[in-house]
């Protein structure tokens, strides 16, 4: 089975600095959700950025391929790549408070790209925006379209962002910690909404998060990252029942749950960290790049 998104041996480094991603490979099939899990600095967000072509300039791609819908993005000239990504992929960003342009009304923020990039007519774009806002259960769509972002609540803004991501029927969506900034009750609604929309539209989803609880609710499969390397790739149920890598087991043990008040939390043991570091190092030496 070939994935809709297929990343092969992706390697990134800070210009003149350390390596950030070490030969990362993963695939996401159409209609499936793949989780990227890890602690801060593990490189999980960087993968999403590499796919969408929004890496900071300080980071350079030193190896690997990113196949999106049968095309290797990294082999395309920049302009072509931008168009390609714009037409097939979309992003649901982390912070709904900063992800909408504060000086523009909601309507145009959804419709502009349909008109500018995809060449829709204005009427079509407006109709589409209204439909999709309706689909994410936004009441009084006409008023919201005319509103500025600061006039909406955080949960409402995240709904708008989800609508905007699905507006052009992308085949892949990268969700970068989409609920981290929200209260748990709102998080639940938003996660359900993402699930519902993804199922209805058959979109492939790359879901970046640090929260194993969230992963278990949304994903079909996941990759665990440590220091820029995938230490374990697994189907979801298998991962939670029989995690293989010591780091995965440590991560699970360190996550508190209210069902288990007395089981003491296990911080990731130093031996495990040491082990992973060695593994990463050996891997790096085999591949022949500096750590």
């Amino acid at each position: 089975m070939s994935g809709f998104l297929d990343i092969k041996g992706l390697t990134l480094r800070l210009r003149g600095g350390p390596t950030i991603l070490r030969s990362v490979s993963l695939r996401v099939a159409s209609g499936k959700v793949h989780g990227l899990v890890g602690e801060s600095g593990a490189g999980k967000s960087t993968i999403g950025k590499a796919v969408l072509g929004t890496l900071p300039r300080a980071i350079e791609i030193t190896g690997g391929e990113i196949w999106l819908d049968g095309v290797n993005l990294l082999a395309l000239p920049p302009r072509e790549r931008r168009r390609r990504i714009g037409a097939t992929a979309a992003l649901i960003p982390q912070d709904p408070l900063t992800a909408l342009n504060p000086s523009k009304r909601i309507g145009p923020q959804i419709t502009r790209r349909l008109i500018d990039i995809l060449g829709w007519s204005k009427a079509d774009a407006n109709r589409r925006a209204r439909d999709i806002l309706d689909e994410v259960h936004i009441p009084d769509v006409a008023r919201v379209m005319r509103s500025y972002p600061h006039e909406l609540s955080g949960g409402m803004r995240q709904r708008v962002l989800i609508a905007s991501a699905f507006a052009a029927e992308p085949k892949l969506i990268v969700a970068d910690e989409p609920t981290t900034a929200l209260d748990v009750t709102v998080q639940k609604q938003i996660l359900r909404l993402i699930n519902e929309m993804r199922a209805r539209h058959g979109t492939a989803l790359l879901f970046v998060t640090h929260d194993l609880g969230v992963v278990s609710k949304v994903c079909n499969s996941l990759s665990v990252l440590y220091a820029g390397k995938v230490v374990e790739e697994a189907q979801m149920h298998r991962f939670f029942t029989q995690p293989i890598h010591p780091y995965s087991r440590a991560l699970l043990a360190a996550t508190p749950t209210y069902l288990d008040p007395d089981g003491s939390l296990q911080p990731v043991p130093a031996e495990v960290i040491q082990e992973v570091e060695t593994e990463v190092h050996q891997h790096a030496q085999r591949a022949g790049y500096d750590v």
């Binding site: 209260d183 640090h210 609710k217 991560l251 508190p256 209210y258």
Partner: protein
Amino acid sequence: MYEIRNLRLSFPDMAHKPLFGAPPQIEILKGLSFDIPKGVVLGIVGGSGSGKSTLGRAMLRLLEPSSGTIRFDGTDITHLSEPELRPLRRRFQMIFQDPMSSLNPRRQVHGLIAGPLRLHGMEDVTGRVSRALDMVGLPQNFATRYPHELSGGQRQRVGIARALALEPDFILADEIVSGLDVSSQAQVLNLLSQLVDELRMTLAFISHDLSVIRRLCTRVLVLHHGKIVEQAETAALFDAPAADYTRELLAAIPLPDPYQEWA
């Protein structure tokens, strides 16, 4: 330790100030009453805008309540002036959410912990600093580091050490693990629960995360829109939540378990 009765706190709403006259007040805390007996670890939980951080700052008298009373160990501190509060301050301490902001960037760890000790005329400052570092599991040579030379978890330990060194009767911890990765979070939580056991501390622990609260606290107080919707012993609350909001909150938590009834 703490007796809080009908506590109210409002801020002026400058955005809706009329042309003349006083601005309207936004009430953040709407009449809270609860006690924190000695030796209790109280979890204060709530979503954003619930007023949990404002409550914490009012308890430490960083904010002055609009009405109601706060008694600390029998003393009414509701409207005490800053000089009157100062001798009492050693006895209630706080650990802040963001150690990058709460640790003065121009002081080394030693100075950060020793400063308050000297202020209160405590003896054997160096010994106390070194014991405090021991207690939070930081090596002694960290004493000469600056905050920006530490990791997030280490900074938060310095915050804990600073509060502990004064040997206070009460500590307030405001969202102290929300900025940390799960592994450092687990370390800090373990440390805190171990210290609670050893020192028989009275602690109020503010958090938005019920899983963390359950791990640490003996009693829980659930805040919603500036009101207490439920307060109960931890086990009772998790076994049989009484308030609708508590149930909603519990049901919304995604457990790391694919078989959980959730949707």
